[in-house]
Chain length 211, copies 2
């Protein structure tokens, strides 16, 4: 038993930021354990005993049970609240964007950033062909978002939801992976809309008591 | 308006098979439109108007609204029924496996199969380095499944669920991508358990009236 939620997290990870942001706006107190996957700590036997998949974020619930996969955490935490649509079809569209995020967006937009910006030991090591591939596929994903956001405020019907939180995480730092958002006015307005919401916090925010 | 569910599907795709299987075991009649993405038809303006992401499966609901992302369809269709856990934590674990499937399993286990088995024009064109990468990462994903299935009947608590359906789709044809399941007795017993369920149908099953 623990006495509250515990989030194993890495500062530079958008997948971890998503969960920090949702916990904050839901007002759920949590203890943050900074776990830098760049040091290999998430592949140690101790961490693998917590999460056999060896990744952060990892959420430990107050009763000690664990959950991995950032978007599964978003759905779990948002259930029954204002950030998961109450309409069945809108909720399904929310699921759709969450899977899109992990399949089409994160492996291109986030991976480009991880090689070009996050990991010191990767900088300069991606080939021009790899970078071009990430940019081609990432821009296709951004184009799919733009098609929705050109004339809608939010990704799913029913208002701001975990779909927006999930895709905000890596889209708002896409420039760090060499992406230019100039051709995407709908996305840029949506990023501003999210950043100006009451209670919004950026990637640098930490719960009190974390050093 | 249409008069029932319509599924745009491709015969060889595990992502499409998942949805066919769930529709069948839920007893939901549907019309199947065979859409072979290998011919480029899913990138035509007509198809992109239906799904801006240009992929199958695509599910058209009886009221004409559309849904993409196979695992979003599974969650939508399973809601309130026996194949989505009723317990909140078990349901979150189900989400966890669905995201794991799209992020860790499909891009390795399914992609190896697509290059080595499905697409005639790809056969012989994958490099040894690519194949080794798919096999290394795919075996890591299979290892995560084995850690659960070695001593549990199903991936999530609460019984057979859409988590099992999603991961069955490409795992049961993993050998077509050059994977050897001999080291995974828990996975092999789980595959047999699923295949012997009443009402189970294989990839070749089609609803009546489809030619």
């Amino acid at each position: 038993m623990t006495d509250g939620h515990v989030l194993y997290s890495m500062a530079a990870s958008g997948n971890c930021y998503k969960v920090r942001l949702l916990l904050h706006i839901l007002g759920i107190p949590f203890r943050l354990v900074e776990t830098d996957s760049r040091t290999g700590v998430t592949r140690t036997p101790e961490f693998l005993a917590l999460n056999p998949n060896g990744r952060v974020p990892l959420l430990v619930l107050p009763d000690g049970r664990r959950l991995s996969e950032s978007n599964a955490m978003l759905l779990y935490l948002a259930e029954g609240g204002p950030y998961l649509p109450s309409d069945r079809y809108d909720r399904a569209v929310c699921y759709q964007w969450l899977f899109f995020e992990q399949y089409e967006h994160e492996p291109t937009v986030a991976v480009a950033r991880s090689w070009l910006h996050v990991y010191e030991d990767r900088k300069g090591k991606a080939t021009a062909e790899q970078i071009a591939g990430w940019h081609e596929k990432g821009n296709r994903a951004l184009g799919v978002m733009e098609a929705r956001l050109a004339d809608h405020d939010w990704l799913a019907g029913g208002g701001y939801s975990v779909a927006d939180i999930a895709l905000y995480a890596y889209t708002h730092v896409a420039h760090e992976g060499g992406f230019d958002l100039a051709p995407y006015p709908g996305i840029r307005a949506w990023l501003d809309r999210i950043a100006s919401r009451p209670g919004h916090v950026g990637m640098e925010w930490r719960p009190e008591g974390v050093t």
